[in-house]
Symmetry: C2
Subunit: 515 residues, 2 copies
């Protein structure tokens, strides 16, 4: 474009009017982006592609089946109609799988603790959040990685709680300062729920840890009945070890969670080229087969139990065999999976928005946006790993959460899409502007009324001119994120439990986080 076209409109008379208009905060229903917006505009798979993937998955379940089901699972699955082969593999008749798909829950509600941010998973409704599990914290100032702690986890939850574009908080890192696995699982629940009232996701290392976990959740909820009415924590279940093997213990965990009223995420995390076929279509087909097996399992334990179809295939860098989450291949894997969820009309989740970069740099920005926006445009119900995640899921960064809130705001603006109607087509405005009008649209009623509800403004992202930028001493994106993080963390979490509940919890459990 030429210089004329790029001249700034900022000096016009519309500025005061715009200032006045934006002074009034928007009510929730007029906010430009919201959790659960619908989108299905990106279709990386054709209807024929999806049918082929479905048929491949059915054949794989019928002919290959899954090994290593626990004894309890063998019981549930054979009772439902599966067969147990001499080779120890459970095989799934096509009709059973099709019947299960037809009967399964089409909608899952993931409750928040305070009722303000419940997530309704169905259709093409999109939500973004964190997921696990990094083993390191990223220190952006020192440019170093160190072991993550329970305090880091609590702080991550507190930060997410303050960020509108992060809709749920699945435990993003491992508390490496807690040696005992059971204590670690229970403290992970405590630290996360004490940091946010948004929906929380956790996981259990062993089946025996679910019982005390549920006891803790009952206490937080104010009783088992209250917990069962609105379970505000779901369980992330790596129920398979791809390719096509049940994760024996994790399946037992899953059974306990279902009985305890927790929604489960059926997580199949194959790696294309290692634990899944190297082709995108093959990795999706295998993940779909595995999750369909999980769906049959869940519905055999308890018909209609809330389950999230968690096809999470990851990419590999085949040059080195290292996992890679920031590639175009990853974005396609996730977008394709999201479409398969729509194909089955089942609530689903996958990984999107993570980076291979070690720091929140330009690489992190492009990698995260690529899969985050494609996941959203594909209508992925739950975009896990969408905030804070670096180093191919090994590192977690508090500052990145804050930056990702900006990134996800723009991605969600894309998810919202384009409204086309007589009003937005603006022919009347065009007429009024061009035929004897001012020749520009600045300060028109239509422009002013839409400036807040149509546009997503960045919080930290910089849109100043080079001149203004220099006058403001060239603000650094990372420094701004650090400052915002410190501000959030300087305040005590509003999600903390009341004193009596907290005391009772601490009496019963060894809580590591200071009161």
């Amino acid at each position: 474009m030429n210089d004329q076209a790029s001249s700034r409109a900022g000096r016009s008379g519309g500025r005061n009017a715009r200032r006045a208009a934006r002074a009034a905060a928007l009510p929730d229903h007029l906010r430009p982006v919201r959790p659960g917006m619908e989108s299905k505009v990106l279709q990386v798979l054709s209807p024929q592609d999806m049918e082929q993937i479905h048929q491949t998955a059915l054949t794989a379940l019928e002919e290959i089946g899954l090994a290593d089901a626990p004894q309890s699972g063998i019981g549930y699955l054979t009772a439902a109609g599966c067969t147990l082969g001499d080779d120890g593999r459970i095989r799934f008749p096509r009709a059973l799988v099709e019947d299960t798909i037809a009967k399964a829950n089409r909608s899952v509600t993931l409750y928040s603790r305070d009722g303000k941010t419940d997530l309704q998973l169905s259709g093409g409704r999109v939500h973004y959040g964190t997921a696990g599990a990094a083993v390191s914290m990223v220190d952006v100032h020192g440019k170093t990685y160190r072991d993550s702690t329970v305090q880091d986890l609590h702080d991550a939850a507190r930060i997410c709680d303050q960020l509108d574009n992060i809709h749920f908080v699945q435990r993003p890192m491992v508390c490496r300062d807690i040696a005992d696995n059971c204590e670690m699982d229970l403290n992970s629940i405590y630290a996360t729920t004490a940091g946010t009232t948004k929906h929380v996701g956790v996981s259990f290392t062993e089946p025996g840890f679910v019982k005390p976990g549920l006891e803790l959740l009952h206490m937080i909820a104010g009783g088992e009945d209250k917990w069962r009415e609105r379970p505000f924590v779901s369980n992330s279940n790596c129920f398979v070890v791809p390719p096509m093997k049940f994760a024996t213990e994790s399946c037992e965990v899953m059974e306990e969670c279902i009985k305890g009223g927790m929604p489960v995420l059926l997580l199949s995390a194959g790696m294309a080229g290692a634990t899944a076929p190297s082709t995108i279509a093959g990795a999706i087909a295998q993940a779909v087969a595995e999750c369909l097996a999980g769906l049959v399992y869940v519905n055999a334990v308890k018909p209609g139990a809330p389950a999230i179809f968690g096809t999470w295939p990851f990419g590999l860098d085949l040059r080195t065999g290292a996992m890679s989450v920031g590639s175009g291949e990853q974005a396609l894997l996730t977008a394709g999976c999201a479409q398969m969820h729509k194909f089955y009309d089942l609530p689903g989740g996958a990984a999107a928005g993570a980076s291979d970069s070690k720091m929140p740099d330009m690489q992190a920005g492009w990698e995260q946006m690529c899969s985050a926006v494609m996941a959203g445009l594909s209508g992925l119900n739950m975009a896990y790993e969408a905030a804070g995640m670096h180093a191919s899921l090994l590192g977690f960064c508090h500052e990145s959460l804050i930056l990702d809130n900006d990134l996800l705001g723009q991605a969600q603006r894309c998810v919202r899409g384009i409204e086309v109607n007589e009003d937005t087509l603006a022919l009347d405005q065009m007429r009024a502007t061009c035929l004897g009008g001012p020749g520009h649209y600045l300060g028109t009623d239509q422009t002013l009324s839409r400036m807040q509800m149509d546009y997503v403004y960045p919080d930290l992202g910089d849109r100043t001119s080079p001149k203004e930028w220099a006058e403001r001493d060239k603000p650094d994106l990372i420094e701004k994120a650090i400052a915002k993080k410190e501000k959030i963390l300087s305040q005590r979490s509003a999600a903390r439990f009341d004193a009596a509940t907290d005391m009772a919890i601490r009496k019963k459990f060894n809580i590591h986080l200071p009161a």
Copy 2:
């Protein structure tokens, strides 16, 4: 996911086999991404939306029309069937516009100088490149902006020439060290074409500059006949001043270019909320109307002349009135325009992949990827501004070109999409792997044969583990880009003209770039 699933596969026995496989360079036709790959999988507009936009544009052309056509243009347009109103506006009968759309060129070839990188614009074939025009160079080391020069322009072309994922080089910045506008235009042509054999885009400030420009191009081509046979330079024509006014002089430039055999980009760069309606649908409708007017104009001058439908609406930050190119709204504007090009089956271009950030930081990464990948998934033939562009088109950065080559490689991987067939669905591999096989896919023939042709590997992007990263002294993305830039610029451009031609050019024109 759990730690088990995230364990690295890098120590497996497949590594040596993979090393051997990747040692052989791939022939061009097996490269994972290529210029001109087809995509139409993202459809932010429904068929009904597009029809409504089309009808709005037709009505706007019929009832509002465009002001300020030059005398010559009035002649061409009224002869074609337009009417000139008492208000000086040219109005376009619906039937004339529809007829022009039906008869216009459905395909444009943008030639390269050496014949190796010609671009075929049609259908949903996607190409990425630079565009203008920044007035400043970004110094990433010093974190400063300074006036851009003819040497900067030449260097930008040299860098682009070496980067596979940048497919054309439209003059990205203004030579501010050349005061005379005609000399600047001619030196811009020289500096860009002397830096790359890829297709080049330029622009002319005044109609009188086209003649010497063509003389220069004839000399570079080796004669007018050779130039006309394969015009390797196109002209970027801001032929309108939105809303709905012809840019008088620029139209005269356009007429000269058409007569001289140069393909033209019909560039309509309205700003939503200032020179176009603030709504995305309205901004697209107006841009479409303006480009349809341009299409009628071009075809009235010379039926079938090669023209690119350049709907380039930009976003504004309505809080400040500043232009914004890195928002979700921008990505939607561009994706919607790309779809309108498909609606008309006309070769088209729009802006994608630019950033508002002043530096190549995380914000730049997410902003650039958002619109770049959405443009590609929408099948945009020419994604202009897709590399190197910062500060809402005010600043250009050589290092960013190199980083963007990585970014665009991943975006193109997404454009390539998912191949679904019996081979990629990999049911046989699944069987062989799971039923008595090794239980993983590492080192299988299928994995090895696809590791280069299916996967795009980053050049600068880092995928090491935190441990390896620390062992390598924590390589910095920007420093790596600087090193690569310096390596490229340490070599003389292979695109330079032969000595005799260069001497003749320098005798006739005041060339600022040292010989």
